[in-house]
Subunit: 336 residues, 3 copies
């Protein structure tokens, strides 16, 4: 264990991942662009090494060094945005997770198939040419942090807004009326156990500012709602909903073992749901890795406190899984 | 103490209650319906026994076993919904709390009298035939989790909506414009001290989704607000408001000792308030037992940290009260 | 250290400050008005002394006693409201912070100059006679807790509302469409390090209730939005935004050392920001002392957990700075 270094890219949930690695006894390092050097260097109480990179395009050149340093890379939500999907798949540094999952996560059609196979309710999806007969939300593929989403109430509004839309690949999804809620899980292939980690909701600009503007004033302002994520708010969920949500997460993992065999999905993931007024749970997206909402719980969540005596973040849980794999001599089963 | 088992029903805040019991050194058990077996069994790190029940109707048959096991039942917000008010009162297993409180909590008129006697501001209530001259919220009796509530701006809207309303017993309450906030207390009859535990607000579908939809779009969608609770969000409250809120809670307990003599209300309870723009505090409801909002603080709250060196949840605080009662040989004073 | 007593006024974040003082090994005392005596006395597990004061006007008479008791006063957001700006500046009891900052914080024009010098984006400000060509928010000077704010969409609405406005000194600020977010920092002049402590958003009545009322119903109710702060909600922020926010806070401190020489701003402060949909960060206000939003984190925040092994509140961090100053024999450098 002393020879291994937990490494990640400087963004998203890197602080949590690196702190967790240190708490579990690993060396760690972070790779970041120049403008973030001072941020990550200021946490020298738990970050061992900060490697500067001029541009993410140069990441492949770094790989040899990372391999030499016995790094294990922990992916997070900025990996695809920074490196691209193909670069992630080609990465030679040992990678925590199953890379087959990347394709299933990125392609919205494949993701949808995965959810449907797992008997998860998903919003209706509109294909090209379908008549838009209800409110929809239009999401670009691989969009990071809600950027480039828009809402349309009907065909007319859709037709108008799509004219100035710049995304090449996008999805038209039924807009479910209900509250968003993000469920964080950790599935351990070593213990074969699903752990409920935490819950959050996103804090999005400007859509979360609308409610503070009186309806009358909104009329004058003609504000178009946008969905850029700026932060996260901690939540807990009704305990009577937990059993159902845990079952859903089990099915998602079970199906993944068929679709992305043999390992399937493991480690941290998130079901991003809308709960309707009839308490139906629609999953609008799955994030098959650590999500930024877990940053609310770097010092532990109400739910991880049920499972662990120490403050257990999702980042730390990853490091612990790696530690456990070393102890069981099963490191290969969790790396790709 | 070793002979006692803390028991509860599998829902609401059971995980918190059971974890708290274990942390205080008690054995514990949970009774749950089949679809939740796997949830509660998965927490075998702190739950000693999971008893399956086919239907809550069969609960009375279980009682003999629970008595034999020296159980103390900890009630929570699902008890009346699952077992019915009468079954709660008839329960033969030792019960944490004062069962007289159940009637005062369930009947909205009695609850209102209690609050008024305690000099608590309450929203105006409309009796049958009263002219509805302001916005109102209509709440069914004993409604769990906000189900079956509706809003009406005026007599006309009320008349229209009431035609399709199915609740038999309901209350028409003035809709107070202001923000909801839920104050959690614990009153210990053993130390005679009121403890301020935590604060939350509810996360309700679909009413908390409205603000994210532009006023203009809402018009097209004709969404009727509903109030189903799906989760809770942690809060803190202005410190300058704390003194007033603590005084309110003291009065509520003092009055309860007259209305439900001699023990009155003790243990955990919640004042559910609306704070107006003139900073008046209206209590819209009292929950005379542990509330689900305390689930935000299973690992302790900012306020319990002021009182305890350990992470003190409301569930754990209940177990500690029982422990204290055993030590003082006063178990009877907190059981019914 | 044993001779020193940490003292503050009974309001705002006093509980946090006093608990932090105790946790760091100091004696402490709180001065409060009669109606709050029972609140602060009930925390006798960590508050050593509660001094009653009939009226804040009599505070100067208390000063001799406080000096004799070797008190260090920790200011918070109620100091100017309770004692007045001049009384704060004249205070003879050793005071944690740089009193020069008080003028720069209170005067909105000076505050604006400070922010602009630090290259911080600020909303456009309208001078008397300026044509109001966009939505504005009108804020009274020194307004505590959002009281006396109002919104106007345009010149016409402004002209109408200003007629009944009672504040003598006020500011007309562009209303930035975006989400509010409050960043809490601690700058240590002893270690020369900026620490990111936590993030919150305010919970304001009645403006945060608007979103729960359907647009159609709002029309009938004619609700005027008000901004009284009743509480705070914990947040975390996108990690990719942290670097920028940390740079902003560094610049604010650097500039302050020129404007309020030589010490400038140190200790706890808060940048109160609006994040727009293009992810621009506007600072609408700086609070140059501990803010009430830190009360969400009396038991530590996700961010302080990155820096400290113990639950580190902002209040405790202040006490630790004083302890560090004593150890370094530099107490004078942090007192005024």
């Amino acid at each position: 264990m002393r020879n291994l270094t937990i490494a990640t890219l400087g963004s998203h949930s890197a602080l949590q991942i690196l702190k967790g690695a240190k708490d579990e006894g690993f060396k760690n390092l972070v790779i970041c662009t120049p403008e973030r050097l001072s941020l990550y260097r200021s946490y020298d109480n738990f970050i061992d090494e900060v490697i500067e990179i001029d541009s993410w395009k140069n990441f492949p050149k770094l790989e040899k060094e990372l391999v030499k340093k016995n790094c294990i890379i922990i992916p997070h939500g900025s990996f695809v945005a920074y490196l691209g999907l193909e670069e992630n798949k080609k990465m030679k540094v040992p990678y925590f997770g199953n890379k087959q999952v990347l394709d299933w996560e990125e392609d919205r059609k494949m993701q949808r198939y995965w959810m449907e196979e797992a008997k998860i309710k998903v919003p209706r999806q509109f294909k090209k040419g379908d008549k838009i007969n209800r409110p929809v939300i239009v999401k670009s593929y691989g969009a990071a942090g809600g950027k480039g989403y828009f809402m349309a109430r009907n065909q007319k509004e859709f037709d108008k807004k799509i004219q100035t839309y710049t995304a090449k690949r996008f999805m038209v999804q039924e807009y479910i009326i209900g509250v968003p809620i993000y469920f964080h899980f950790f599935f351990s292939p070593l213990t074969n156990k699903m752990e409920f980690m935490s819950v959050d909701k996103r804090y999005e600009t400007n859509v979360d500012s609308l409610g503070r503007i009186p309806a009358l004033s909104q009329r004058g302002l003609k504000i178009e709602p946008t969905f850029e994520v700026v932060g996260n708010i901690p939540l807990t969920v009704r305990e009577s909903m937990l059993a159902e949500v845990m079952n859903m997460s089990d099915r998602v993992v079970t199906v993944s073992q068929k679709l992305m065999p043999p390992k399937g999905l493991f480690g941290p993931f998130c079901l991003e749901a809308i709960i309707t007024s009839s308490e139906e749970i629609y999953v609008i997206e799955i994030s098959a890795r650590i999500v930024a909402g877990t940053n609310c719980f770097i010092n532990g969540s109400p739910y991880t406190y049920l499972l662990y005596d120490e403050p257990m973040s999702t980042g730390r849980r990853i490091a612990r899984e790696i530690k456990l794999a070393i102890q069981k001599n099963k490191l290969n089963s969790i790396l790709d």
